[in-house]
Symmetry: D2
Subunit: 419 residues, 4 copies
Amino acid sequence: MIDIIALRRDLHEHPELGFTEFRTATKVVQMLTELGYRVTYGKDAIDDTSRRGLPKPEVLEDAYQRAIHEGADPAIVQQMRGGFTAVVAELQGEQEGPTTAFRFDMDALPIRESKSDKHIPQAGQFRSSHEGIMHACAHDGHTAIGLALAERLSDRKFGGKIRLLFQPAEEGVRGAYAMVKNGMLEQVDRLFCIHLGTGVPSGHVRGASAGFLATTKLEAHFTGVSSHAGATPEEGRNALLGASTALLNIHALPRFSTADTRINVGILEGGTGANIIPEHARMVIETRSTSEETNRELERRVRQIIEHSASMHELSSTVEVIGGAVPIRCDMELAELAVQQTEGIAGFTCAEAISDGASLGSEDASYMIRRVQEQGGKATYMIIGSELPAPHHHPEFDLDEAVLAPAVELLERLARTLL
Amino acid sequence: MIDIIALRRDLHEHPELGFTEFRTATKVVQMLTELGYRVTYGKDAIDDTSRRGLPKPEVLEDAYQRAIHEGADPAIVQQMRGGFTAVVAELQGEQEGPTTAFRFDMDALPIRESKSDKHIPQAGQFRSSHEGIMHACAHDGHTAIGLALAERLSDRKFGGKIRLLFQPAEEGVRGAYAMVKNGMLEQVDRLFCIHLGTGVPSGHVRGASAGFLATTKLEAHFTGVSSHAGATPEEGRNALLGASTALLNIHALPRFSTADTRINVGILEGGTGANIIPEHARMVIETRSTSEETNRELERRVRQIIEHSASMHELSSTVEVIGGAVPIRCDMELAELAVQQTEGIAGFTCAEAISDGASLGSEDASYMIRRVQEQGGKATYMIIGSELPAPHHHPEFDLDEAVLAPAVELLERLARTLL
Amino acid sequence: MIDIIALRRDLHEHPELGFTEFRTATKVVQMLTELGYRVTYGKDAIDDTSRRGLPKPEVLEDAYQRAIHEGADPAIVQQMRGGFTAVVAELQGEQEGPTTAFRFDMDALPIRESKSDKHIPQAGQFRSSHEGIMHACAHDGHTAIGLALAERLSDRKFGGKIRLLFQPAEEGVRGAYAMVKNGMLEQVDRLFCIHLGTGVPSGHVRGASAGFLATTKLEAHFTGVSSHAGATPEEGRNALLGASTALLNIHALPRFSTADTRINVGILEGGTGANIIPEHARMVIETRSTSEETNRELERRVRQIIEHSASMHELSSTVEVIGGAVPIRCDMELAELAVQQTEGIAGFTCAEAISDGASLGSEDASYMIRRVQEQGGKATYMIIGSELPAPHHHPEFDLDEAVLAPAVELLERLARTLL
Amino acid sequence: MIDIIALRRDLHEHPELGFTEFRTATKVVQMLTELGYRVTYGKDAIDDTSRRGLPKPEVLEDAYQRAIHEGADPAIVQQMRGGFTAVVAELQGEQEGPTTAFRFDMDALPIRESKSDKHIPQAGQFRSSHEGIMHACAHDGHTAIGLALAERLSDRKFGGKIRLLFQPAEEGVRGAYAMVKNGMLEQVDRLFCIHLGTGVPSGHVRGASAGFLATTKLEAHFTGVSSHAGATPEEGRNALLGASTALLNIHALPRFSTADTRINVGILEGGTGANIIPEHARMVIETRSTSEETNRELERRVRQIIEHSASMHELSSTVEVIGGAVPIRCDMELAELAVQQTEGIAGFTCAEAISDGASLGSEDASYMIRRVQEQGGKATYMIIGSELPAPHHHPEFDLDEAVLAPAVELLERLARTLL
């Protein structure tokens, strides 16, 4: 039987960034295959061109080689080469019935993990061995829960089908969209997504979540002509003039009366030296709104500002979507079912269907939830509470391993319960 | 015989802005006609659509009515209605010979003339009777010189033809271009342009001038959509955001290694109230350069910035040329001739062909000079010195009336001298 | 007895802008005095330095002279000279009791009234005789209602005291604050403010209003140094560079998570000519928020941007508050009382205490309401419906005169009812 | 005897960036010491705090370790640890006489050298072994010439003293100033600076150079407060808003009538992720002018813009000078002496004292030249022509090794000639 804590620690020690989860996903494929699941992965599980914010080829390749070096099964991992790290597993139960899906995200963050002795992964010797990368958002726990759940359900004692979705690149809201595009959510009747922590204490369960914002992440490039700033400044086409103009005007876009909005130019970088007219600049922008339509309108206006800030200085420009999410509207039937099913599970002391004003920002599970609902299915985004010594995305973040087993039990009950 | 001082004082008392010189030009037509000149004026003397920075119709009409009210001959002035205030007069001399032209500008400035008792026009009771308009650049003197010269030459004792050009709207470099476009400089062999003052003392003559810059004056309009700033800001298209972006970026255009440049957004105005998204903004821009080609390139880039600053915020924009000039290269033969001819004229104590570094900024006589030179003719821009109690364009500006008569005599000699 | 329709038409024909309501306020003083009220006006009714957005002295003086010319009682109006056009009247009822106040605003708008034959004031020959000024927000109706109410209550058949507040300069949210500062709301137990129209149909009454935003209106001046743009650009200090920088950065201030916000630079104007570095620029800015505190923080940040945008270019700057309001929280007891009292009044067919999402933007009655509530009193802002042929602030705006009489009756009942 | 070509190739193969010339300078110290010169280096040769644009400590340390690894004499190089890589050597001639100095710069550029077979260093197997660093400005040649000259003069057959200055960090105009500040130019009577190439063909010598601009290189940092862009944008203080505002306004500084100017923001970078309000931004700026005073004024105004662009958004800012130069005025006596001395040197076919309009941009040898002239000495900046397969600072740049020997001979003659 899977030792869920050992499994989570192994994953924690080998964190992988979005679309480079080669070792993690290979392990997921291996275990699920052994458990008898029909496993889909590589290009079969995720749409190539819909992947957002894909790392550069050399980054993908380095991570791929590292995974092989760390023992990833070559026959499996080579199907994932180039960033195809999604895994979907399906199992038919004993009786007929609906398809119930569970979604787990696998990626880590570009954070240098704490070496403090108070930090349990350091003391327990499972701190990240990939310096500068860290599971600081509990996805190691999510993946471990998913695999433990798979083992429990391998007895096939349930009605209908179980589908387990292991998603790459949730950070930056990048990976879910491409799995949906590849059909991985078709024919799903019920979808449960989970997150550990998020400010909810250990022992508590929240059956649904509200307040997620629609968001788009964009990367823009401005390209001009470099020139010597002293000798021939007029021959240059200054990419930083265009980019700075765009930055100011993007922030100056109007507030909307239709919905709450947010806008941020999070990164701007350009130029090579004091005496060279800057030829190139790169910009990363984020829009958000409580309304998907308003967010689309904001994105449209951001693109327009970029295009014309560039043209104004005779620069060319490109804009690419590198991430995105839509708002989430949970089905309260599933939330209430989850609350009921917590009853009697050791470790759970409190459950509520939903809480006012709760928000995690944005989540690309939203695309999966929407796709299920479009087909007439139900979906929810649940929170499994966990004490946290430090906030999400912090070098001393850690999860309470005591919540892993109850979480698995709750999901198992949900899988075996036909609504 | 014309009393040049009385004439200048009459003109000074009735100053008229560019393209509204209805009273002035009518008087010029009357006097030249009486002297026997063949006089061309109205639409025959200036090209309609080439007039730059034409005032609004109601402004033209008000000035027209004022001129009639002040006694302008209705038969003449009605030919000028709508701003056709150029006058060209020609006289054939006794012998055959080349055509010698003289150019005089007639317009005044939007300046409120001083009421100080030290200000001679006030003390002498010929201060402007058109409140807020003032001859503060000596064009009253230029016009008076031109008419006195016409009288002297009406004896026809010279070879060739004399052509006298009375130009509207020199301020803002607006009127000369349209006279050239209408053919008023065709067949001119020698062209003398003059200016009084400009820092040169009374008694001095400078035969040529250097340092004039190419310039373009542009007026841009940005038009968006107004909206209530509290209720529906997103429905507005903010003209001031576009205009402010253009303003900053126009100033941020590069220095040129090809030539010295200048750039200025001299006026920006837009918006109607605190709580309304501004629908409209107007901007006046000036480019200059020692090189005409560089000035053209600057103008091109200014237009591009305006267009895209507008498009960025979904505004429409227009750009119109409201003034312009090219550099001047005087023919030194004429300059030296002028220096020689000063000899013996009472009132002139010093003459030089040219002076280093002298510049008046920009002058649209430059279009006339260029047209003459293009045809193989010669041209110069002369300075007749005058003590000034205050700088040009100042409410206490005044000219030294003692220089008027010597100036007329010098021009007369030049007219009678065949090079 | 007052003919309320004739009175309203007289006021409509003689509209006066904020702080220049000399004729209107004089008439108010006269009528109230004749009715036996104790009348306070001029400097006794409004605090000099708290008046916001006061017109220039010459504007105040011209309007003052016009009022005298139109027959305003010189003895009264001279107390208002310089813009002290507030009037407060008090009457003691037969019995002891609380003080009930009613507030009416008197000012008009800088709008040219329609001359269309379909426009009733035109057809009825009471169109504005002050060209370019118009009662386009129903304040003529408000003032007429106030005076008719005063007449009804002059029988003193009520308990407590009645206080009638006739406020100048509501447009631009400028006048109420200075009346509060002068103590005009002290000892008020109940305050009723009314507005006609606002999208509510004739016959309807709304007892309270919601959704008013806190707002601040600011006027900023940037002062630099002018210089010839061709000859010595470096000697200039360019006010428009500073102002445009401020404009972009003000719009770029962040969205707030604490409350909804709005921001607008509604006017920017500066510069004098193409060839002059702009010495001066003027800017009008508005901030708004559902939260007064957030609005204050926005104002603080706007001021900071202006100061440093100016200093960046070695300009001086000033910022003055020219208007402001706070949010309104109506006391529902008064709203419900108003609903009850409509019963049986001919002309009223429908009444409700409040309506979801209703908002008029901002209102400076908010300062009066707050002051009353701070003292433990109750206050509300009521809407008396009126059909409108065109929206508020439109050249064809007009009110339904049939609603005036029922409005007076409702206020009379409220005045005579002790809660 | 030194094989100057082999020496230059050794230096070419081991290029070092400014202030990290540990291997190069150690070799210089060794060779000069062996030749009998009195050698000053380390902290004795350069002022600590006057060094501009010093690399970060870890960069200095890495380069230091690399030099040791490559065989630099530990006893010498440890005196240079931390970036004290200047070397000054002096030799007393047989007779008394003036002090003649020669200046050579030693640093390379952050350029990846070409691997093309047509590139001679590649074909000849002396391409840079320090990947990403390259001698692409001929300083390898300069240093080799300096050492070969030292060998020739070690016979002491000259009058007066010879002083050889080996300068670090000429790229970015960073190192000379600190050598001057440490007194290394005191008591110098004649100073010869040389540069190879610069567009002058092989065989040509130019005795003096004109057109160098005053320049200042600045590095600015903007520091604010990061915050989650979705959850609490108002708690952030956005460094990129401040920096972009500074960038636009720096470029928008006026043209000067006093002198030609240049301005460039060459680098801007800030922010960490799409969803984080940027906390930090770094900017590199360059000002230039034909006039040192105008350049100082430009620098003053740049600093002011940075300070207030930061304060506007409640950011802190710092500005540091990371490079600079002043204009150069060569003494024509030395230039003409150089022209004379080329006579008869094999390899030189043409010599001229100076050429119109020649400019290399900016050079910090200017501080040395000025210091010599301030003491009454003479100085010049000479060009030794060299064919170049590609421009300076290009990955395929290479010098014509045939010009090295004639250059040494010319300098030797100048050293032995007392003016």
